[in-house]
Symmetry: none
Subunit: 145 residues, 4 copies
């Protein structure tokens, strides 16, 4: 038997809140998705003004980052024609996302979930995803110390 550590709903809210605060600060309303370590959705928020296409894209980014334990922008860099990874972006009917903006969430070196954002540029999406993770980790540290 395996023992797995997984984000709970309170963790998911911290991730959402941190990401939404950064998105608010840069003036880009986002779709924000948080999944557990298996890629299944825990929480989602479409900020007022977030794009409808981003509802699915944000979830797919988070799914990919959790389920493949890899940031989607890392797949993006490898997913170029001629590279053997190329084509991975059509896997799972396109649900495997190679668009920047999905980051795995690690605690003590283990992937416990992921966060995915969409509606800005991929770089904005990545920055806000990282802000979510930073907020989550800071709050956890504050609680534990």
């Amino acid at each position: 038997m395996l023992t797995v550590t997984r984000l709970d709903q309170a963790d998911a809210r911290l991730l959402l809140a941190g990401a939404a605060a950064r998105a608010q600060a840069i003036g880009v309303p986002m779709c924000i998705a948080v999944t557990d370590e298996s890629g299944n959705l825990l929480a989602f928020e479409r900020m007022d003004g977030g794009k409808v296409t981003s509802i699915t894209v944000a979830q797919d980014k988070a799914f990919t980052a959790a389920a493949a334990r890899k940031a989607t922008h890392e797949y993006n860099q490898a997913c170029v024609p001629g590279n053997l990874v190329f084509g991975i972006h059509t896997a799972l009917s396109g649900r495997l996302s190679v668009v920047g903006g999905g980051l795995p969430v690690l605690v003590e070196g283990e992937v416990v979930g992921a966060i995915g954002l969409s509606s800005g540029t991929p770089q904005q999406d990545i920055d806000c995803a990282q802000a979510g993770i930073d907020h989550f980790l800071q709050h956890r540290q504050a609680v534990q110390s």
Copy 2:
């Protein structure tokens, strides 16, 4: 041109909170989805213990209630073999849900969004969905009076 009234993110949170409180009270962790009036997802929460299958089912219930402007249990009652509505449950690749637990959210007689729940019995899902709507309407009244 048409003018449409739609739930915003603050409204969606009221709906989530009211539904989650009832689910907590009856001891059945739920998946809760809120969509806008077009059926597009605004907010989602999988309470700790909510079922993985319910992630999609809750969203599909809310989508159906908003997009068809009808409670999913009303479709359920009509969707019996021999009735001309029968078969509607396979429409949209099964995304059109006839399982009880999806309710449209009305403000001044107009559908402005919907809420869908899944993980309990359909009756529990319906009750928690209604609790979400009640909480939303009460809070709105308190703000406006």
Copy 3:
């Protein structure tokens, strides 16, 4: 609550008529789709001779332009290998279209819907989509002045 402005059926017909007239003029029968601001179909016409594959492609272009609030050819320009946006063309099971020919329809700076065309070259599709928008805006101005 949010207030949203959306194309109505009369608007959709203006868009169709303007696009079809241009398609007729250049001798390329088209599939033409008009969606509301959420990406849901309002009107569709397959001109005599329009391609069967274009039935879906035109709808996906209009869906994308509305739901992402961006012309599909803008996605096309960014969706190149090595760019962080690459891979967006397979999102939503490929429904997110990066093929030129989908344009958002803006009124007073707000996306109120979109138009998508398919059957010609992407440049022809774009030109006819723009002709639809021009016709719509001209007719609206005449009515309002």
Copy 4:
């Protein structure tokens, strides 16, 4: 954070072996799928003679039993026209299976995975699934005592 207990590969093999032995004994070659507690596939075997359609059906049964924490035949009994659960069989594009033959695997009262079989009658599928669980639990007991 949540801590989750999940079948490992050795567990999955015990489940497969027990189910296959029973299928062999009754002379019905089966497709056998084992998933983790989130419904993701851990192991699969198509015995010589197993049906091609059953490749997917067995996986869907195991997915459903794990992700909904319920035997698929229990859904079957509730999924009758006029009952509020009716329609659940088309959810998730039909991936939510209500055909008998999917059983959750419980250890100390917690769902740690599931097993799904297909190719025989549903009753044969259920019997072989149970044989897989029995074999798994017996072997675990022997190891632990």
